[in-house]
Each structure stands twice: as structure tokens, then as C-alpha cells.
Symmetry: C2
Subunit: 338 residues, 2 copies
């Protein structure tokens, strides 16, 4: 692929994740126990299906953000544990529904739940996890946390519907694409971070700083996901290269390659992504065009812009190991591309 590996980024990134994981390890052990405990139900299929997804080796980045944000704010209680589990449940519910919507068979290198148990069970267990998440928030008792996470959930659903209505549209502008990912991905990152400040009862300025950090980090995360789909690194994550291409999913690399392309190239994108008329060799041609127009590197360049905003958002906090870990995780999110 055309991405020039930046070893400096890569090194910083990998060690950043390890440092964050080490910093929040004790809390995350409790979060994982809580997740296992709270996804139980007398209806056996629920923990089976939810466990299949939840045990499938995700990084648990979102709950780690809640933990680290609350610690950054000096929080010393234990409410962050259950609330981190809530965040992971909302994320898991959206993944279950996403896989139904995308008709995906593979996630994190394993069969998706819908491939194993069918779409029906995935829809319903997603609903269960989502409801259970709200039950846990209600048990926590903070209306402000409930407000933030229920609003994030609405925004995520709006973003997913927006993506559906603009799918396969090669005319999508960068701005409208950014609107989709701000909603479908960044809103939960933002909420996950913001609630850390809420439970620590910190002033609005810190709550907004963490909200901004999370939002921008979420944008980076999604842009890098988009890049990964066209990158050989993808295969290391147990996904195949070109899934987005085969579905005709318009992401920033395609937006850039389409806009920068010749008339003939645009006709190619319209045929393959809009009309989904794909033939042997099309993925290779798509990769060539993406490469020709430097679309992956420039998507990462855009990601770095949001990274700079995320770092500056944190600058109002005292410089401690939690701020450092959260700042460095920006590098990790970008380094995932390499």
C-alpha cells in the first residue's frame, strides 16, 4: 500500500496503548467482571451471543477512556466501573446492529454473531444490551450521565441512518462524511470521556475539554479504520482488505480519490461503488487509484489535524500520568494505520 510507514509514530503508538492499559488495569479488571456479570440473563442465548462478541478481543478502548478520564479528574470512587461497562454495552449493541445492517460475516477475525445465530437474535440481544446499559445508568443515579449517554445514543442512531441514506453516493462531500462519523463514531467516544468529569464533579470547562478530546479522538479512530480497510495492515486485524469497497461504502479515502480523479476514474467509482457492478481486478484498480491520489496518506493527514485538537483540549489539565496516557493514545489511534 501507498502509506509510508512512520516508525516514530508506530513506536509511540504501541507503547501508548500498553501504558494506558497498565495505568487502568486494576479498574479494567473490575469493568470486565462487571460486563460479564451484567450481561447475564436466564435466557441463555443472551449471554452466549453477547459473550461471543464481548469476548472477541476488542481493545475496550471506550471504557478505558471513561476510566482514564475520571482518574484524570481526580475521581476516587468506584462509579466509573459500572459506567464504563455501560459505555461498552452501548458500543456492543451498536456493533450487533451494525453487523446486521452491513450483513457482515466477520468481525475481529471471528464469525459475527449474526453469522452464527442469525440476524433476529443479533437485533434482539443488541436491544437487550442497550436496555441493560440504561438500567445500569439508572442504578448509578446521575441524571447528567443519563443525559449525556442517552443523547449520544440518539446521535449514533441518527448518524447510522444518515450513513444509510448517503450510502453508495460518490458525490458525498468531505463535510457530509465528517458529519456522519462525528455522529456514528465520535459521539460515544465524546460521551465516554465526558462522564469521567461528571462523576468527579469537575467544572464545566473540564467536562467540555474531555468531551472535545473524546470527539476528536473518535474522529481519528474512524478515519484510521477507513484507511485500514484499504491497507495490508487490515489482515492482521482479522479482516479482509476491501470490505468497504465491496459494500460500496463511501469513506474519506474514496471521497478524496473520487474528487481528485479524472472523468474516467469517476466513472469507475460510480460503476463499482454506486451501481455495485464489480468484477475481477476492480479492487486492485481501486487501490491503485487511491494510491495515485495519495488518498490514504491524506486521510491520515486529516486525522492528524483532529489529533492536534484532541491534544490541545487536554492541555488545561495538570500534567500527570493520566493526561500523558490520554495524550499519547492519540498517537496510538493514528499509528493503528501502520
Amino acid at each position: 500500500m501507498g502509506v509510508v510507514v512512520n516508525f516514530e509514530d508506530e513506536k509511540k503508538g504501541e507503547s501508548a496503548l500498553a501504558r494506558l492499559q497498565k495505568l487502568v488495569k486494576d479498574d479494567m479488571d473490575k469493568v470486565n467482571q462487571t460486563i460479564l456479570h451484567k450481561m447475564q440473563s436466564p435466557v441463555a442465548l443472551i449471554p452466549q451471543l453477547a459473550g461471543h462478541l464481548i469476548a472477541s478481543g476488542g481493545k475496550r478502548l471506550r471504557p478505558m477512556l471513561t476510566i482514564a478520564s475520571s482518574r484524570l479528574c481526580g475521581y476516587e470512587g468506584d462509579r466509573h466501573v459500572e459506567l464504563s461497562a455501560c459505555v461498552e454495552f452501548i458500543h456492543s449493541a451498536t456493533l450487533l446492529h451494525d453487523d446486521v445492517v452491513d450483513e457482515s460475516d466477520l468481525r475481529r477475525g471471528r464469525d459475527t454473531a449474526n453469522a452464527v445465530w442469525g440476524n433476529k437474535a443479533s437485533v434482539l440481544v443488541g436491544d437487550f444490551l442497550f436496555s441493560r446499559s440504561f438500567e445500569l445508568m439508572v442504578a448509578d443515579g446521575s441524571l447528567e450521565v443519563l443525559r449525556i449517554l442517552s443523547h449520544a445514543s440518539s446521535v449514533i442512531a441518527e448518524g447510522e441512518v444518515l450513513q444509510l441514506t448517503t450510502a453508495n453516493d460518490t458525490d458525498t462531500t468531505e463535510d457530509s462524511y465528517m458529519e456522519v462519523i462525528a455522529a456514528k463514531t465520535a459521539a460515544l467516544f465524546a460521551a465516554a470521556c465526558e462522564i469521567g468529569a461528571v462523576i468527579a464533579e469537575r467544572p464545566t470547562a473540564e467536562q467540555e475539554a474531555l468531551q472535545s478530546y473524546g470527539k476528536n479522538l473518535g474522529i481519528i479512530f474512524q478515519l484510521v479504520d477507513d484507511v485500514l480497510d484499504y491497507s495490508a495492515e487490515q489482515e492482521k486485524l482479522g479482516k479482509s482488505v476491501g470490505d468497504d469497497f465491496r459494500e460500496g461504502k463511501i469513506t474519506l479515502p474514496i471521497v478524496l480519490a473520487f474528487r481528485r480523479g479524472t472523468d474516467e476514474e469517476r466513472a469507475f467509482w460510480r460503476r463499482t461503488m454506486e451501481e455495485l457492478e464489480q468484477q475481477d481486478g476492480d479492487l486492485e484498480k481501486a487501490l491503485d487509484l487511491i494510491n495515485k491520489h495519495n488518498a490514504l496518506n491524506d486521510t491520515l493527514e486529516r486525522a492528524r489535524h483532529y489529533g492536534a485538537i484532541a491534544r490541545d483540549a487536554l492541555a488545561i489539565f495538570p500534567d500527570n500520568e493520566h493526561r500523558q496516557a490520554l495524550t499519547d493514545i492519540v498517537d496510538f489511534c493514528i499509528a493503528r494505520a501502520y
Copy 2:
């Protein structure tokens, strides 16, 4: 069909619905405005799809129950309006997901949303309505209402998954079937009624009475739905007779007919409902067997048992027009079968 029409029930039932509707009309006008207002989104497909379902002529029974329950408890504020809209949103979200799960094409005599806009949009707009419902509850600010409705949502999802795992199983006992409908249908009726007492700040005894009334009414409602599926009355509701049969959905009339049947009859049920090997004339044979074993009348007899419990649950309230309307709605729910 084998149901002996009870004109007395029918007359009481129809006028009971009309009386309840008249009693809550002013409040319900506000509920309908709130529903239209709160399902708006800049993403146009959301109000389009939600509006298609919500405008499709449901009776709005659940929000009417919230209104009438709060008035029965002497509530004089206006929080019941938005909370009734929440109840209807949760109900609408489950209908959207149900139609995806059941692969239904027709609801209330119109194309289902999934038939018009596809499964993906139905899943996601369902998620939106569900999230929006929680946003509205959070804005209302009662943790007790949030507790009741988030718990009901979990229970509904559990019930739906349970139904999925026991689907097409002719060995289903009456007890396990009752467990499914207590969860998937009655839990929301119960919650819709219970929150009326909560916002009126009435004692636990009244909260529990309304919860019990709603639960038993919900059970009746579902049992009558099950009967309707095998009744000519079904066609008046814009559905075709035998949908449950074609899907192999085990409902109480089938549980009774199967258990009361001969070996040969059981083989018929296994072939048609478990293995879904259906041929011309099978629906007619199924109707004959149901009739032979009096399964529809006896399902209604069971419904009357829950009706008696629902009526007695209300008996602790002063005898006023709201109590009368809620008591009579039990007759309406049974009379729907005729």
C-alpha cells in the same frame, strides 16, 4: 371460526374504548403532538419511517393507559404527556424490530417499514426511537420512571429472545408460553400504568396495583392477538388469517390444540409448525383442529381469568370515571376477539 360471539362483551368492549378515548382526548391530542414533534430529526428518513409506523392507525392503547392511570391517581400536572410519548416510542421501536425479526410485510393493513425501506433502516430508526425515548425520560427527570421503563425494556428484549429460542417448538408448555408473553407484551403495559402512580406520587400500594392491572391487561391483549390470528375478525384489522401458522409461531391456541390432540394430530403440528413443511389445505386443517379442541374459546377463557385479576387490582382506587374506564377496557381487550 369456532368462536361463539358474545354480543354482550362486544357491546361493552366497543363502548369502553370509545369512553376511554373520550376521557383522555385532550391529553392524547397533546401526546400526539409530542410524538410528532419529538420524532423529528435533521435526517429526513427518521421522521418518514417513524411517521409511517406511528401514523398507521394504532389505537395508542399504551399511552392512553399512562394518561388514564395518572388521572386515576389524581395527577394534575403535564408530565404524563411526554412520558406517554416515551411509552409509545418504546412500543414503536419494538414493533420496528419485531417486523424485521418476523420478516413481516404487513402491519395494520399497510406495508411494514421494513418492506418499504428495508431491514437496515428499520433496525436503525428503531434504535433512534428507543434512544429518543430515554432522552425524553431523562428530561422528565424522575429516576423512578427511568428505572421502571429501562427495566421494562430489558424484560421485553429478554422475552423476545426467549420467544426466538422456543420458536417452532410444539412441546412448549402453557407456562413457558405465558412467561414469554408476560415479558414481551405485558411488561410495557405494566410499566405504562405504573408510571401514572409514580408521577402522581401515590403510595407503593397504588403503584403496585396499577402495575398488576397493566400486566394482566397486557397478557389479555396478547392472548386475544393470538386468537385473532386464527379468526375471521383478523381480516378486518388488515392482517391475513394464519400468519402465525405460516411462521410456525407457537401461541396458546396451538399449545392447547397440540396437547389435546391425537398422535396423528401432533404429527401434523410438528410437520407444519416445527419443520415448516406446509402444503395447500394445511391452514384449513389447522383451523379445524383448533376448532375441534375448542382452543380459541379456551384461550379466551384463560384471558378472562387475567381480566378478573386486572379488575380486582383496580378495586383499591375510589370508584370514579377513570377507574370505570380502565375496568371496562378489560372488556374491550377481550371483545377484540369477536
